[in-house]
């Protein structure tokens, strides 16, 4: 990585932090748990790096590490989104007629 690329990536990083702060400070406290699990699923974006490591045929150890990374990142993504969906499905405005 040359210094220019680093500066460019850092630029994106700084602006994203600001974007994140703006977006998240508007989330009401009622939704803090789904926010955590949902944002957690987003942090599973590491999956993208893991896919490249697992799929690029360099050597066995890199492939092994990459595959393990795919496993854990996928747990993070799939588990995170599904459990968030399960929680958010329960947030209802009016109590419905049918009860569980």
């Amino acid at each position: 990585m040359d210094p220019q690329t680093l500066i460019f990536l850092f630029f994106i990083f700084v602006l994203s932090i600001f974007l994140g702060v703006e977006l998240i400070s508007k989330v009401p406290s009622t939704l803090h748990t789904p926010l955590m699990s949902g944002s957690n699923a987003i942090s599973g974006i590491t999956l993208i790096g893991a896919l490249v490591s697992a799929g690029t045929p360099h050597n066995q150890i890199s492939t092994l590490l990459g595959t393990l990374a795919v496993v854990f990142a996928t747990i993070n993504v799939i588990g995170g989104y599904l459990v968030t969906d399960r929680m958010l499905a329960m947030f209802k405005k009016k109590a419905p007629g049918d009860k569980k």
């Binding site: 699923a41 974006i45 590491t46």
Partner: protein
């Protein structure tokens, strides 16, 4: 078109979808769709990445299938009361994935330039701490190990020595990355140890802060991994999560009137530093029959749930009692303190699970502004967050912490298993107040008793 360009355009779309998805989380009405929008962003990013030239798919497929099976099973079988544990484990797996990706990159290209090497090091450090820290948090939350702070003499010194050792390893390693594979492995191991040592001194009741912070770390780890592989979508998504975790951490610290350093290093609730002023007065127990008579006459009732409600799994009977009170003409609200439970928003999820409509949930400031007009405040498994000592007793360890002022309601019922003090280990003078009645017993059984009284009349 060049696949690299298609991939990058798709990444921009993904990032926009993540941002929109998070924005839609700002209202319960749009939140579920927001989560789907964000998931769609993830799906697009994954598909785009699979277009990368020269990939072989057999191991990718193995990884995705195994990970999906575990993820789906975990998401469907976890109980809502165990959500803090689930989030802790998800944080941990994200952190571990960052360590593994950075390691894999280092392994096939050990002789990278200095910037890449530094980011590999940071990725491993933050990812490693996130992983073991989350595992310890999970073990504490699920009571696999004691939730009490674990302290030993010179703990801080040991932690700083380890951090110092990691930094030294980092410097040696970044100087000559290719020649220092053992140093790299040492960094991985030391980071894992640091994660354990950083979380063991923190008590169970401080877990909302720890989980928020680890959530932030998992984002920051993803972000550093983005620097390692020079991938913008990782940097943006990772920073969004990092920012989210930091904001939640701040909210939690504020709600406890403590600084982050205090939470992380003090082992709060372990040392018997100051006990606060001794409490005078008499405990007045009440039977469910008498409690029913007062509730029956009440026109405004507020439930104040705490971790005890989660432990007793009492949320469904609480909702049932709430509906009976409403049918009886009372105005029913649920007041949730920001640090009630073991993670931010924990109580809200449990009440939502029990079908309590979210417009019945109110936060601390809303309820405190008209608490004096409340006829009955029912405190279910909450303790320190309703202790009036926080307002006036400067000697109390929780002095200055914002609380729900239930003592100013006309009548307070406290549902409690015994007189054991709460997490902070301090007496609660609320229990001795003139207008307080104690309803002893398991929270679920007590509420069931009240429900039975209502039904039989």
């Amino acid at each position: 078109m060049n696949p690299a360009i298609i991939i990058n355009i798709t990444y921009i779309v993904s990032v926009v979808l993540f941002a929109i998805g998070l924005k839609m989380l700002s209202s319960p009405a749009s939140a579920r769709k927001g989560n789907l929008v964000s998931a769609l962003g993830m799906l697009l990013a994954v598909i785009a990445t699979l277009l990368t030239k020269g990939l072989t798919f057999q191991w990718i497929l193995v990884g995705i299938v195994v990970g999906s099976l575990i993820g789906v099973a975990a998401a469907y079988f976890v109980a809502m009361t165990a959500m803090p544990e689930m989030v802790a484990l998800l944080n941990g797996s994200g952190g571990l994935a960052s360590v593994l990706v950075a390691w894999a990159v280092y392994h096939f290209a050990p002789n990278s330039d200095i910037f890449t090497t530094i980011t590999i090091f940071l990725s491993v450090l933050v990812g490693g701490v996130t992983f073991t820290g989350s595992v310890i948090a999970w073990a504490k939350l699920s009571e696999k190990i004691s939730g009490k702070p674990f302290l030993f003499a010179g703990q801080k010194i040991v932690n700083f020595l380890i951090l110092g050792a990691i930094l030294v390893c980092g410097i040696i390693y970044t100087m000559h990355p290719a020649a220092n594979y053992p140093i790299f492995i040492g960094t991985v191991i030391l980071s894992l140890i640091l994660g354990v040592l950083a979380v063991v001194p923190i008590g169970g009741g401080d877990m909302p802060v720890v989980i928020s912070l680890l959530n932030s770390y998992s984002g920051i780890a993803a972000c550093f991994t983005g620097f390692v592989i020079q991938n913008t979508v990782l940097i943006v998504a990772g920073s969004l999560v990092g920012a989210s975790g930091i904001i939640l951490t701040q909210i939690m610290c504020k709600a406890m009137n403590r600084s982050l350093t205090n939470v992380l290093f003090s082992g709060f609730g372990s040392a018997v530093q100051k006990k606060g002023t001794a409490v005078q007065g008499e405990i007045k127990p009440i039977t469910p029959q008498d409690a029913y008579l007062i509730l029956e006459a009440a026109s405004s009732v507020v439930f104040v749930p705490g971790y005890g409600m989660a432990v007793a799994q009492a949320q469904h009977v609480v909702r049932e009692l709430g509906e009976l009170l409403e049918a009886n003409g009372a105005d029913v609200k649920y007041a949730v303190h920001p640090v009630a439970g073991r993670m931010p928003g924990h109580m809200n999820v449990l009440l939502a699970e029990a079908n309590v409509p979210y417009d019945h949930l109110v936060d601390m400031d809303q309820i405190n502004s008209n608490i004096a007009s409340v006829d009955v405040a029912l405190v279910i498994g909450a303790n320190d967050v309703v202790n009036p000592a926080a307002r006036h007793d400067e000697a109390s360890p929780i002095y200055g912490m914002p609380i729900i002022n239930v003592d100013q309601a006309k009548t307070v019922f406290v549902l409690k298993r015994s007189m054991r003090p709460g997490f902070a280990g301090i007496e609660n003078e609320l229990f001795y107040k003139e207008n307080t009645r104690m309803l002893f017993g398991d929270a679920k059984e007590s509420v069931q008793g009240l429900v039975a009284e209502f039904k039989s009349s």
